[in-house]
Symmetry: C2
Subunit: 172 residues, 2 copies
C-alpha cells in the first residue's frame, strides 16, 4: 500500500491518516494550536529538519489545513494559519492530549492545563454522543456500512469465532 493510496480508501480513518498521520505533521499541528505561525517558530520549537518542515508545511497547505498568508513585503514572508478545516482538527488534538494526560504523564503531572473561557474552569475533553449526550465508550457502539461503503479486501478466515477445526483450546 503506497501512501498516496490511503486517501482513496473507503475509510475515513485511512483518509485522515493519509493527511495528518505522521509524526512530524501531528507535532506541527500541535504547534499551530499553540499559536506558532512561522517557519522559524516551528523549526526551533520542534527541532525538525528544515527540509522536512518545508515539505510538511507544503502538504498541509495543499490539503487545505493551513493557509499561507503574507505578513510582510520585501522580503516576502508568510505565516501559516489554520483554516477552518484545520481548526476542526481540534478534537483530534484534544483527544490525543487527554490520552497522554491519562496514560503517559510522569510523576510531575500534566505539563499543560486547559481552561474553557466560556465557563472559566479547567477541564478535560470528553467525547459524547451527538444524540443523547452520553460519554462514548467503544463497547456501546456498533457500526454499519454507510452510503460510501465498499467491500473490504479479504479479511479471510482470521476473524470470528475462532473455530480451529479441532485444536487444543487454550485455557485463557
Amino acid at each position: 500500500m503506497r501512501w498516496d493510496a490511503l486517501e482513496e480508501e473507503p475509510c475515513s480513518v485511512a483518509r485522515t491518516i493519509g493527511v495528518i498521520g505522521d509524526r512530524w505533521t501531528l507535532l506541527i499541528l500541535r504547534e499551530c494550536f499553540l499559536r506558532t505561525r512561522r517557519f522559524e517558530g516551528f523549526q526551533s520549537a520542534l527541532g525538525i529538519t528544515r527540509h522536512l518542515l518545508a515539505e510538511r508545511l507544503k502538504k498541509l497547505v495543499r490539503t487545505g489545513i493551513l493557509r499561507r498568508i503574507p505578513y510582510q513585503e520585501s522580503p516576502k514572508r508568510h505565516e501559516y494559519i489554520l483554516t477552518q478545516k484545520g481548526l476542526d482538527l481540534y478534537p483530534v488534538m484534544m483527544a490525543i492530549v487527554h490520552w497522554g494526560d491519562t496514560h503517559m504523564v510522569d510523576e510531575r503531572g500534566r505539563p499543560l492545563l486547559h481552561e474553557h473561557k466560556k465557563c472559566g474552569k479547567l477541564f478535560d475533553p470528553v467525547m459524547v454522543c451527538s444524540e443523547c449526550g452520553e460519554p462514548l465508550l467503544a463497547k456501546e457502539v456498533t457500526t454499519r456500512p454507510g452510503p460510501g461503503a465498499r467491500p473490504r479486501p479479504n479479511r479471510s478466515t482470521a476473524e470470528g469465532e475462532a473455530k480451529p477445526k479441532s485444536r487444543k483450546q487454550a485455557t485463557a
Copy 2:
C-alpha cells in the same frame, strides 16, 4: 530529535505520538476497534508487510495498549486484544473518523455509520467540556502550565506580535 526521545518530552501530545503516531500503528488500532485480533487478520486487512506488522504489534504490547493472549496450544497461537489503556484511545479514533467524515468523504458519502447502543441512534462524536458540557472550540480554550511543565526549548523570536523592526507590512 530521535523518536524514543519523544516519550520523555514534557508534552502529552509528543508522548502520545511517540507511541501511536505513525501511520501503520493508527491503522492497526483501527482494525482493533473493528474487532480484528489476529496476525493474519491485520495483515490481510491492511496489506502491511509482515515484518512491520510484527514489529508494530510488539511495540503496542510493550506499551500496554494491546495484550497478547493465547487462544490455542500446539501450535501456540495468540490474539491481540485492546487493554483498557488501548480502549481509552477510542476518542482519538472517533475524532479522526469524524474529521474524515466531515472533510475527506467523496461523493458517495460516509463509508461507515455509528450507532450508539444506549440511545439507539446513529450519531456523531462531539468533544465537550467536562465542566460545562458545551462543545469545545479551539478559540474558546486557553492553556497554562501544569505541574509537569518545563521550560520549552527556545521558541526564540519567531512568535508573538510580529514586530519586524520596520519592514513594510503586508496588506493582508
